[in-house]
Symmetry: C2
Subunit: 289 residues, 2 copies
Amino acid sequence: MRLSSGKEREVLRTIETIEELKNWVQGKKDAGLSIGLVPTMGFLHEGHIKLVETAKKENDEVLMSIFVNPAQFGPGEDFERYPRNMERDKQLAETAGTDVIFAPSADEVYPRESAIAISAGRLADQLCGKSRPGHFDGVLKVVTKLFHLAQADRAYFGQKDAQQLAIIESLVEDFNFPLEIRRVETVREPDGLAKSSRNVYLSEKERSEAPHLKKALEIGKEAAMDGRNPIPLMEQHLNANTSGQIDYIQLLSYPDLTEKVEGEAILALAVQFEKARLIDNLLFNIKGN
Amino acid sequence: MRLSSGKEREVLRTIETIEELKNWVQGKKDAGLSIGLVPTMGFLHEGHIKLVETAKKENDEVLMSIFVNPAQFGPGEDFERYPRNMERDKQLAETAGTDVIFAPSADEVYPRESAIAISAGRLADQLCGKSRPGHFDGVLKVVTKLFHLAQADRAYFGQKDAQQLAIIESLVEDFNFPLEIRRVETVREPDGLAKSSRNVYLSEKERSEAPHLKKALEIGKEAAMDGRNPIPLMEQHLNANTSGQIDYIQLLSYPDLTEKVEGEAILALAVQFEKARLIDNLLFNIKGN
């Protein structure tokens, strides 16, 4: 059979309804196949690709969700203008090894206002949660739904969104979800900038400054490992080398996000550029006295 | 092999740890068997037995949990003195057709303080939720854990705890839990008193008055179906025929528990006797104008 000239090759299956997703999941479960879930908001970059590749190694089937979740955007945030490109996403996802995409509408995911609420509590009082009230409650809402719908054996999250990861790990532990959360390391540009869908918002000048976020983290990490306060050094570096406004710099225990830092720690920052708010972090161990 | 003389016949398997439960569940899932979950706080009565019998008809395996959940008792409530009798429960559960009991300790269920919270929101502002702040949040906490641990196909709840049922139905719908909630009708004594583990708290005199709860509901239902206000008639009946204090009488839509009553409605009451707070309700349809 000859394809009509303008037709693209067929890309991987995309499911848009919950009913169709349930049928797909049931089929895989009945066949005894394991499912790895990669939740995304689309506009894929190498960070997402690494999630898929990791999931592919550990599961029979890789399900990627692409859903720009309105519940996790606050008023005045970038929900409307969040970058989207479904056709490009499908091709990247397939090349990486995704077996099926779940890309529902907002009405499909939220057919009615929820009566029951899940909240991130004190874990949202730090870092991004402080600047983005309600953000992590919105993340928990969609992630809980996706976990239930996908009935995945494992779900994959990038370490770049380290607070999100910590909160989702708590969700799973606190409520005995029958799946494993897999942390995947941050993927960076050659100059150190963490991959992010929001990097497209940067002006040329801002893009050239952005690698200093990672540099500031490295300076801070060295100080923290020596028992010195990393914050002033990092502030100084960022103010000297970028035009962005520092939203926060924090050193906390990880994943419980308390002030007591001994053992696993997170050094994290957020910098607001003109159209993009960028975040980055390093996880490392701090020895006790 | 001869049993030693004092030995009771072996009753059904009782699982006390989450790890052992996970293994049991995985075995059933691998074998393609369906699981019906009957969550209880033990001290079983005919209401629980009916839940098991219904579950037995609809599933390959019936898992009963017996757990007096501290999270759903408020300060000053009857957690410590809530009636318990595990040996009797095991025999009743087995006779009814239960395949396995999950009876964990509180430390097993709650090994640490939860960081993430689930709350019943406005659904808890009415009926029992009003008199028992935090009660339904505690129910949601344990029920979410049990749903995840049991990976049940269906879970069985009695209509007697109608607000609990409504809130759990909302939980499942709002967050796409992959299981079905099955409502089971209230089981009553021959004189109409709804079966409850707390009936053992009643004095002889209170026990003789208690059937008037159901009578008051019937009087109220008749009034509500005629478009009259049921509350004053019910108050009058209860005050004339029982020594208990009325906690609430409410007519609400069901299961969304709003004041607008057209279609499915709940007429519910709670009466505080000396040592027992009894609840009861009727569900019925009210025609619109």
